[in-house]
């Protein structure tokens, strides 16, 4: 590289191309790996090109810009969050399949190089936590929570755009790292001193640092936004103990985000200082202490587990009571348990490193603290079972996920208790037992929750139900695939097989890794089923349309409005008289009423802030990764200018005349009156237009 391009490209050169190494040192293995890596890179490039050409061809750029990218509507931002999560989910699942394939063939070798494998487990973990799980739950909270509490938007719609922009920038960075490699091999936890410059001088760790940092900033802002919305924007009469349980979990997750994201921001920022400015915070030399990083990371990492899982608990609570046709059992206990979990989550971080040599007393105390979390969690499980008890259970797709969750999750809880006993943890720490455990918590606990939520609320968001048959296939494939892929990992862990190992030399492991491979293939099938389900549903969208908006005989407020809801959610902000607000209205025959008057509605105006932050965020992070300082300064300058200019903006709202709202609402109400209500046996038929029969006490609908 000559000096004239150095200022432009920084340390980026041809060696960043995924096939460069194979050109320099062509061995069978390096060529195989180059083909795989280049294939992935081409997928990214082709995907981007298809989107660009498709939008141009269909002349949809203006539509995309006005209706989506600059929209401050929480519903659209939520959908974009979820779309991002699904794309990232697809990538990370494919990576997981490659890892399983490698370990299935990994006795004495396999086909992946150790570095390639290292990047796979690092990106898989990073994506699944920061760019699949976080955007997924953020998206669902974004969409559902304001509808559930009876408000028109989040407290800070533009900040919501910025959250999306930051997460998108982080995800873009991870995607770019496929084309301009490599990514970090330090695992999603990024422990120094392995991730310090001395051991890993390349761009990989920097990619990881900035992608994660963007994600944590995004989540902090989302957490603030959600918490303030729930505190300040509840509809009149929506008292705390009348909140739907999903909103309660959203609140707890939001509070955890506000308090638990900063530790990770600090950890990655300090690691960046070490790498960029030769600080010595976590180095082995000159008084650094890498144990500080590990404590900071898990001070984030453990609450993070509950950030991920609490919204799923909320979704399951809604699903269980809706599809059992029954009031949630033990509402108060569930709220208390959720709060208890949120508080306790800050007290157990040390159980992630029982083996680091601290005193046995400390280990024992943290082990017992960890078990305490099992109490509120157990209470929740039993509350859900008692919700089903004496219900009328429709085993539709969300309910399949929920039932799979409840039974698989307790097994994960069991192994969690095993790991929480320090004397046993000394044996299974850092083995595949640990990997099996946290997948056992996060796949049934988080992912099943998100997929159940998607099936549950999809008709609300798009006005038609997702196709049921392919949904069931996907759900069962997920459950079976999960069991086959991860139960063998428990055995491997007990047999002493470490995590993150590219190959092994013990023939006894082979049957287990082969079984896990089969499980991974079934999970891939499940992903395919999800795609087919989406395709079939969109094809049959007119048959499955539910314009009235209440396809499941729902209980909370989001079902009280049309599907899809108008951009202002509620023509008139509803008055709340009790728990399960909409069910109460239906029971009292007060649903679908004409309000006395339709006041004008003030809505936030479109803004480009989210897009600007997404672009400049990507540019700053990319420039930092490759030492392209001009790009960093330029993008940072643009961000600052945009923020200051935004401060000078005064036309930040627009007003919708009440007359227009009235017309839309009366039209919809006329449609309600013209629709034939159905009972639950017709739920999955085209007769379901989203209007259930009014409830009669004790009778089965």
């Amino acid at each position: 590289m000559n000096d004239s391009t150095h200022w432009l490209l920084g340390r980026l050169d041809a060696s960043a191309l995924p096939f460069w190494d194979a050109l320099q040192h062509p061995t069978t293995k390096s060529v195989v790996n180059a083909v795989i890596a280049s294939g992935a890179a081409s997928l990214v490039i082709i995907g981007a090109l298809v989107v660009v050409f498709g939008l141009t061809w269909l002349r949809r750029w203006g539509w995309l810009w006005r209706e989506w990218l600059t929209s401050p509507d929480h519903k659209k931002i939520g959908i974009m969050f979820i779309a991002l999560a699904l794309v990232m989910l697809a990538r990370a699942v494919i990576e997981a399949v490659f890892m399983r394939l490698q370990q299935a063939l990994g006795l004495d070798g396999g086909f992946l190089t150790a570095d390639h494998f290292g990047q796979l487990f690092t990106t898989h973990g990073t994506i699944m936590v920061f760019f699949m799980a976080m955007p997924f739950l953020t998206g669902i909270i974004n969409y559902v929570m304001p509808l559930q509490i009876g408000t028109r938007d989040l407290s800070f719609p533009v900040m919501n755009q910025i959250s999306l922009g930051l997460t998108a920038a982080g995800a873009a960075l991870v995607m770019i790292s496929l084309v301009l490699a490599p990514f970090s091999t330090g695992g999603w936890t990024g422990y120094p001193s392995f991730t310090e410059r001395a051991a890993n001088p390349g761009a990989g760790v920097d990619y990881w640092i900035w992608a994660v940092t963007l994600s944590t900033l995004s989540s902090t802002l989302s957490g603030i936004n959600f918490a303030v919305t729930i505190y300040k924007r509840r509809a009149p009469g929506m008292r705390w103990m009348r909140l739907p349980l999903f909103t309660w979990t959203a609140l707890c997750t939001a509070i955890l985000m506000v308090f638990a994201m900063p530790p990770l921001t600090v950890a990655t920022a300090l690691l960046a200082l070490d790498r960029y400015l030769d600080f010595h915070l976590f180095t082995a030399d000159l008084g650094g202490n890498m144990m500080n990083y590990i404590n900071l990371f898990w001070a984030f990492g453990h609450p993070e587990v509950y950030i991920l899982i609490l919204p799923a608990f909320g979704i399951f609570s809604e699903v269980f009571s809706t599809f059992a046709g029954k009031t949630l059992y033990g509402y108060t206990a569930l709220v208390i348990a959720t709060l208890a979990i949120a508080v306790l989550s800050f007290t157990v971080w040390l159980h992630h490193f029982f083996t680091m040599g601290q005193s046995a007393h400390i280990n024992a105390i943290f082990g017992i603290a960890t078990m305490l979390i099992g109490i509120p969690t157990g209470v929740k499980i039993y509350d859900w079972m008692l919700t089903l008890f004496r219900g009328r259970i429709r085993l539709s797709v969300p309910m399949i996920y929920a039932s799979g969750f409840i039974m698989l999750f307790v097994l994960g809880g069991l192994t969690g208790i095993v790991l929480a006993v320090p004397s046993v943890d000394y044996q299974v720490h850092n083995t595949l037992f640990l990997v099996a455990h946290f997948h056992n918590m996060l796949i049934p606990g988080l992912l099943f929750g998100m997929l159940a939520g998607t099936n549950f609320w999809f008709p609300k968001a798009f006005g038609f139900r997702l196709e049921e048959r392919w949904g069931r296939r996907a759900a069962y494939a997920w459950i079976v695939g999960f069991m086959l892929a991860f139960f063998p990992l428990y055995a491997l862990g007990v047999l002493g097989m470490p995590r993150r190992t590219v190959a092994f030399f013990t023939p006894a492991y082979l049957p287990w890794t082969l079984t896990a491979m089969v499980g991974a293939v079934i999970i891939l099938l499940a992903m395919t089923c999800l795609l087919v389900q989406l395709w079939v549903s969109v094809r049959d969208r007119h048959l499955n349309a539910v314009p009235i908006g209440d396809p499941w005989d729902g209980r909370s407020l989001e079902w009280a409005v049309s599907s899809p809801p108008p951009e202002y959610n509620f023509p008139v902000i509803p008055e709340i008289h009790g728990r399960d607000a909409f069910m109460l209205e239906k029971e009292r025959g007060k649903a679908y009423q004409v309000p006395d008057e339709y006041p004008d509605i003030v809505l936030p105006a479109n803004s480009a802030m989210g897009v600007i932050v997404a672009v400049t965020g990507t540019a700053i992070a990319f420039g930092l990764t490759w030492y392209q300082w001009w790009l960093v300064l330029l993008a940072a300058g643009i961000t600052l200018a945009a923020v200051i200019t935004r401060g000078f903006c005064r036309d930040t709202t627009r007003t919708l005349p009440g007359e227009e709202v009235r017309r839309t609402h009366l039209n919809w109400l006329a449609q309600v009156r013209a629709t034939v209500p159905i009972d639950r046996s017709q739920e999955q038929s085209c007769a379901n237009r989203g209007l259930p029969l009014p409830p009669v006490e004790g009778a089965i609908q």
């Binding site: 407290s155 957490g223 070490d274 400015l277 010595h280 915070l281 000159l286 008084g287 202490n289 001070a299």
Partner: protein
């Protein structure tokens, strides 16, 4: 409404809707959104507080990590730190005066005057802190020298960075005042900036006591 009646109504029947100065009835326009924004800003401050808290904790654990390099006694200039403390404390006072002017006075002259003084004090603080760092660098106190110095330079300059950002924000708000006058949005901005400004004061008191005074103890 005259300034006097504004004060009376505010004192009698306006409950405090958020911590800190509430503008009260004289500033009814935008009251709802202000309440929400200020509350949100307080939540953000809590998050920021965690950030500083963790850096304080890191600093404390790294006190022993001087690796044979210069320590607090060799590097810290108490007179400089005390001067900076005074600058910041006085700036908090002047911002308080600006807030009072915002609440009780109709003319903008007093408000702008107090804000300009605050800005000068803030910039003075940043300049003097940079000068202090420069002196530390000359004495061999660079962050790459030891874990202790790394921890110092990740904590104290972060506060300085916050003050710098607050100064930029103040300039931007003065610009908004010039362009749009004292409308609801500018008021919202000033109230939030005031919270940040006092918060940074508190953080600095923590730094002064724990880092500077503690370093010499």
């Amino acid at each position: 409404m005259s300034a006097l009646t504004a004060r009376q109504t505010a004192a009698t029947d306006a409950p405090a809707r958020h911590p800190g100065i509430n503008l009260g009835h004289a500033h009814r326009e935008g009251e709802e959104s202000r309440e929400e924004m200020v509350f949100g800003f307080w939540v953000f401050m809590m998050s920021d507080m965690i950030l500083f808290g963790l850096l304080f904790a890191t600093y404390v654990t790294m006190l022993g990590g001087t690796a044979g390099g210069p320590g607090p006694k060799e590097l810290f200039d108490m007179r400089g730190a005390f001067f900076e403390t005074m600058l910041l404390l006085v700036s908090s006072f002047t911002f308080g005066m600006a807030s009072l002017a915002l609440k009780y006075r109709d003319d903008r002259r007093a408000l702008v005057g107090w804000l300009l003084i605050t800005l000068l004090l803030g910039l003075g603080f940043v300049a003097h802190e940079l000068y202090d760092f420069h002196k530390m660098f000359e004495a061999g106190g660079v962050p790459s020298r030891s874990g202790f110095l790394s921890a110092f330079f990740s904590l104290v300059p972060l506060h300085g960075l916050h003050v710098s950002v607050a100064c930029v924000w103040l300039i931007a708000l003065l610009g908004q005042l010039a362009v749009h006058g004292l409308d609801a949005q500018t008021k919202n901005g000033l109230i939030r900036l005031a919270i940040l400004w006092h918060f940074l004061d508190i953080v600095w008191i923590g730094i002064f006591s724990l880092v500077y005074l503690g370093g010499l103890a």
